[in-house]
Amino acid sequence: MRVAIAIVALVLGSIVFHLLSPWWQTPLASNWDSIDSALHITLLICAIAFVSLNLFLALAIVRFRHRPGSRAHYAPESPRLEKTLTFWTGLGIVGMLAPGLVAWGKYVDVPKDAAVVEAIGQQWQWTFRYPGPDGVLGTAGVQYMTPDNPFGVNPLDPFGRDDILVQGNELHLPKGKSVKLVLRSKDVLHDFYVPEFRAKMDLVPGLVTYFWMTPTTIGTFDILCAELCGVGHHEMRGKVVVEPRESFEAWLGQQESFNQLLAMSSPDAVTEMFRKANSCSTPATWGVR
């Protein structure tokens, strides 16, 4: 009997907790309201299930608790009831899955006119690269990296010359422009996560991954790494500054390009970069014939 009261209390308490909880989604700052809708629909359907099933549980305990002389009913199965329950459950599942898949359909479909920005993760900081006036990111990779070329931009690729290189963990984006964030890792798995944007994706060394979104709110947001990457995982933070187009362009104009980096590097450093770019990227111990 007490347990039935406890069940009802926990159900009511959970509802109250939900309504009063100061911990809920951050205000949405991107176009991904479809994700939020799918979440809210899922929550609604699950909440109905949670409340009704548990109240039924409590009711059963109260009505059918043992009293002297009580005897259980004998009913091995009821195929009709089971079919009905299966049907309605299936309907609930479809009700949750449909909006979820619709949102996912949008997630995998990057707009053709999205700007491209690259986020590079390493233990334990973020750097960023913009494609510059030519609109194309130059090839890059671990095999081109030198101490003077920390981004690993390929010096032989003409598209890379005007790429804009941003260190210091701060990414700027213009409000209202959809952007495809391409993600590259220099070492281990990481994940680029900004709660207000909802969208995220892992960074995988050896691959280029991506996701897209459109920032809709001016502000500064935290970047959190969301894939355990070692002892500095919790400190791998950055900032995204969403600002009006004009101030974004102004800021971008002040950043260093790869051309400028080359110009400012010593001749030896530049030679080393070209040497690496020209060599076969065969590691020293690769002893196959």
Binding site: V204, L207, T285, W286, G287, V288, R289
Partner: protein
Amino acid sequence: MSLISRLAEKSWETPGIDRYREPDSYRPAAATVGVYVYFGVATVIFTLLAAAYLVRMGVPGAVDHGTGDDWRPMPEPPLLWINTAILLLSSLAWEAATRASRRDDVPRMRTMVLAGNALGLLFLVGQVLLWWHYQTAGYYLSANPANAFFYLLTAIHGLHLAGGIFAGGRTLGQMAIRADGQRICRNVRLCTIYWHYLLAVWLLLAALLVAT
């Protein structure tokens, strides 16, 4: 009763035992079932390794990209084919042993079991020789994923065969102490199907290694 009809039985409606014979009269031996269940396990192991092999090799298509540029197929020395032949012969020996056991031809069964075990052992020696051959030719495990997969696949297959030789050796021991004849015949039969299974796995592995 088929499995489906058995699982559809409404067991509360039919108490009693009149429909049920003594289980021993129709159930196969536990050891037989155990071996077949283990085939499921081994099949999963080899299938996953083969899948990983294909992914790492860079099967084009929907699979994750970024792999496979460094794949270099290994050469096929004659020893590879000699070993395959030895394994085939050892399977045939076990098959002969099983047929001999069915005819109650105990001396022939004993000879064939001995031959099957010995040829299996010879295969393992041959595999080690093959490894040594590749190592001295410079095909180190760490050098290249094709190499690494070769060593891994042959190692896992070899370990399975070693287990089979252990079981085969036990069967020889049972024959020496003249244990129950039915049990020996069953063990000979189980060793035989186990050998055939490993032969089939080996042929598939060899085909995979050679084709890529």
